[in-house]
């Protein structure tokens, strides 16, 4: 049990625990802020999977962008949203939540079964990658490969996604604009 493993378990515990709090708590504000903790825990897990650039992107985009957007939408949708969130004091296993709980639990059983049956540690291509030293290095030089690949192999998806982001921004601004004259 080395340090990396202990860190992994701490991060996994933080992530899953805060995600559970998001699921259980009836208070909307509390669940938004616990979602924040979940995203940080996930960023830690990405670092442990040797993807530091993805972890930083996760923090910048999710925490800096999406979470602020969600908070704004929450505040703009007024007190009424808060009131409905408060009066819905659902216990984790109340009668109205029973179908959702059952669905999630059954899905969990099925997918855990799939994971254990798949035996991902012994996949052929993973073994080949370990043999040919095709593993992301621990010393942080993996980010060089990301830069080179982004500008060569993945240039087309990169450009396409930039156009898509532009369209989404314009679309969101258009949708949320106040309509002065209704036609």
């Amino acid at each position: 049990m080395n340090l990396v493993q202990i860190l992994f378990y701490i991060m996994a515990f933080i992530t899953l625990g805060s995600a559970l709090v998001v699921a259980i708590s009836g208070n909307l504000v509390r669940s938004i802020f616990m979602f924040f903790v979940t995203l940080f825990g996930l960023a830690g897990l990405y670092v442990l999977a040797l993807a530091d650039f993805v972890a930083v992107t996760q923090i910048v985009i999710y925490v800096g962008g999406i979470l602020v957007l969600i908070l704004f939408a929450f505040m703009l949708s007024g007190k009424e949203a808060l009131a409905t969130a408060q009066q819905q004091t659902n216990r984790f296993i109340s009668l109205s939540n029973a179908p959702a709980f059952l669905l999630a639990a059954l899905f969990l059983v099925v997918m855990l079964n799939v994971v254990f049956k798949a035996d991902v540690n012994n996949l052929p291509w993973v073994k080949v990658a370990i043999e040919t030293k095709n593993v992301v290095p621990v010393d942080g030089t993996g980010i060089n490969d990301i830069g080179v690949n982004l500008m060569t192999r993945y240039l087309l998806p990169f450009e396409v996604i930039s156009v898509l982001l532009m369209i989404a921004l314009v679309g969101a601004a258009h949708l949320s604009r106040k309509e002065a004259i209704r036609t």
Binding site: L20, L42, L69, N90
Partner: protein
């Protein structure tokens, strides 16, 4: 050594929590958070497998693209939620039940 199995188990549990949130919550913003949790579970898998692909970096690259896509989706979804609130004065998806103005 952390194995791929550990990452996959974490992401499976996260996915199921997201599913639970989506089905059980009565607030559009919380449902959006559930969708984000499911997306993050998928991204965690991409990143975990991307560790074994140094030459092409497929996993990490598509994790980045998925994060950007999630940001775009959230922006549009929140704009739609605001419009729905303006129209119906509620963001409970169960109460939004007519197509006409």
């Amino acid at each position: 050594m952390i194995t791929l199995n550990d990452f996959m188990i974490v992401s499976v549990v996260l996915f199921c929590i997201g599913l639970f949130i989506i089905v059980s919550k009565k607030n559009a913003i919380q449902i959006l958070i559930g969708i984000e949790l499911m997306l993050n579970a998928a991204i965690l898998n991409l990143v975990a497998f991307g560790k074994y692909d140094r030459a092409n970096n497929g996993g990490q690259m598509f994790a980045l693209f998925a994060i950007v896509l999630a940001a775009a989706t959230t922006a549009v979804a929140l704009a739609i939620i605001l419009n729905v609130y303006r129209q119906y004065r509620t963001i409970n998806p169960d109460k939004v039940n007519q197509l006409k103005d």
